[in-house]
Symmetry: C2
Subunit: 223 residues, 2 copies
C-alpha cells in the first residue's frame, strides 16, 4: 500500500521539484532554508521519502535528492492546485497578485480533486497563473516554458514579459505599478555592464525604468 502523502510531504516534494527545475539536485540545506525547518529534520524526511514504497525521491548521503516519477507526479499535483488556486483567488474573489501566495499555500493541500476540476472549468482551463507561471495540466504534465531572465537581454532587444518568479508582495506591487506584468511588451534601452542595471521601456508606459539585477533575474521574458 502506498504511504500517505501528508501535507508536510507535499511541501517537501513541491520545493524539491522547484530546486530540481534547473537541472541540479535539491540539497538538504536549500530545502531546509525554503521550508524553514532545521537541516537535521530535512535529512530525516528525505530518508523517509526515499524508503517509501513507491520511493518519492532518490537519495544518496551528502548528494541531495531528485524526484522519482512518483514524486514528480505528487509534486505536480500540488503545484497545479497552487497555481489554479492563485488564479481563482484573483479572478473570482478579487485578490491582487501580491496577496494570493499565502492563501494558496494553505489551500493547496486541502482541496479535493473535484474542487480542482470545478475551478479549472470555471476559469476556462487557464494555462498560466497570475504571476505567469505555467499550470500543470489535469494529467500532470508541466507545459514547456521557453522564457529567459530579463537580465539576459541587452540594448535594443525586445521581448514580452512571461512570468515573475518571486513571492515578495512589495516587489509584486511595485512591478504592477510600473507595468511589468505578464504580456507586457518591453524594449531594452540600455545595459550597464558595471552594475547589471537595465533601462527598459514598457509599451504603454510614459517613461523609461531602470531595474537592478535583483529584479531582472526574477522577471522572465520571451524574445
Amino acid at each position: 500500500m502506498p504511504e500517505a502523502i501528508t501535507q508536510s510531504i507535499q511541501d517537501y516534494l513541491k520545493h524539491i521539484y522547484e530546486l530540481n527545475e534547473n537541472g541540479g539536485s535539491a540539497s538538504t540545506n536549500d530545502l531546509a532554508a525554503r521550508l524553514n525547518i532545521a537541516p537535521a529534520s530535512v535529512t530525516g524526511m528525505l530518508q523517509k521519502l526515499a524508503n517509501a514504497k513507491p520511493a518519492l525521491v532518490i537519495y544518496k548521503k551528502h548528494q541531495g535528492v531528485k524526484l522519482t516519477k512518483s514524486g514528480e507526479k505528487a509534486a505536480l499535483e500540488v503545484i497545479r492546485h497552487h497555481r489554479l488556486l492563485e488564479t481563482f483567488l484573483v479572478n473570482t474573489l478579487g485578490y491582487t497578485w501580491d496577496e494570493v501566495h499565502c492563501e494558496a499555500d494553505k489551500l493547496e493541500h486541502v482541496i479535493s480533486e473535484d474542487f480542482e476540476a470545478r475551478m479549472a472549468e470555471a476559469l476556462g482551463h487557464p494555462t498560466r497563473d497570475p504571476h505567469g507561471e505555467p499550470i500543470p495540466t489535469a494529467d500532470l504534465t508541466m507545459p514547456a516554458d521557453s522564457s529567459c531572465p530579463l537580465a539576459s537581454l541587452r540594448t535594443d532587444e525586445t521581448a514580452t514579459v512571461r512570468k515573475v518568479v518571486d513571492d515578495d508582495p512589495a516587489l509584486l506591487r511595485h512591478l504592477r505599478e510600473i507595468g511589468v506584468i505578464p504580456d507586457a511588451k518591453i524594449t531594452v534601452k540600455n545595459y550597464s555592464a558595471f552594475d547589471g542595471n537595465l533601462t527598459i521601456k514598457v509599451e504603454g508606459q510614459r517613461s523609461n525604468i531602470v531595474l537592478g539585477s535583483a529584479i531582472t533575474n526574477h522577471v522572465y521574458v520571451e524574445k
Copy 2:
C-alpha cells in the same frame, strides 16, 4: 499567551457547540461518536481544553463539557467559515447541497479571515447556508432561529421549511427531489400516531408525500 487553536481543537469546539445547542452539556461519548475518536482520547482533549488559558470549556469529571465564552467564539468562527464555504461552493462553483459538506469540513480550518471576508462580500453577506442553517455574523453572534422539527406538526398545520440538519448526501438528494428544501411551503395532510409518519403536501409539487420520523426530525420548519 493564549494556546494555539489547532484544527483538532476547532473540530472539538464545533461539535461541542452543536451538542450544547439544545441546552445540555456535551458528553464524552457523544463527542467521541461525532469525531470518530475513542472516548479515552476525548477525555484527554477535554482536560486540555479546560486547562487552557483562557479555558475553552468547563469540565467536571463525568459531567460532560460546556463551552466558555472564549470557546464559543472559537466555535462560532469555525461554524461561520463552514457555512460561508458551503454557500460559496454552491453559488460560485456549482456544487449541489449534498456535495458541500466534506469539502467545507476541510477548508474551514485553513482559510484566512481575509478569505472569509471576501466570500461574505461576494455572496452578499448571506444569513443562511444551503441547508438553511444560520450563518454566524462577522462579529460572531449566532442569529436566532425559531424553527421547530417538522415532526412536531400535526394535521392541517402549514409551515415553511427552514433547514435540514443532516449531512447524509443520499437523504439530501432525496429531499431536493421531492421539493423539501429551504423556503418550501408545506401543509400536513395527515399524522399517524402509530409510526409518527407525516403525510405532507409541498406547494408546487404534484402529489402528497409520506415522511417517517427519521426524516421529519431532521427537517426544521417555521409555522
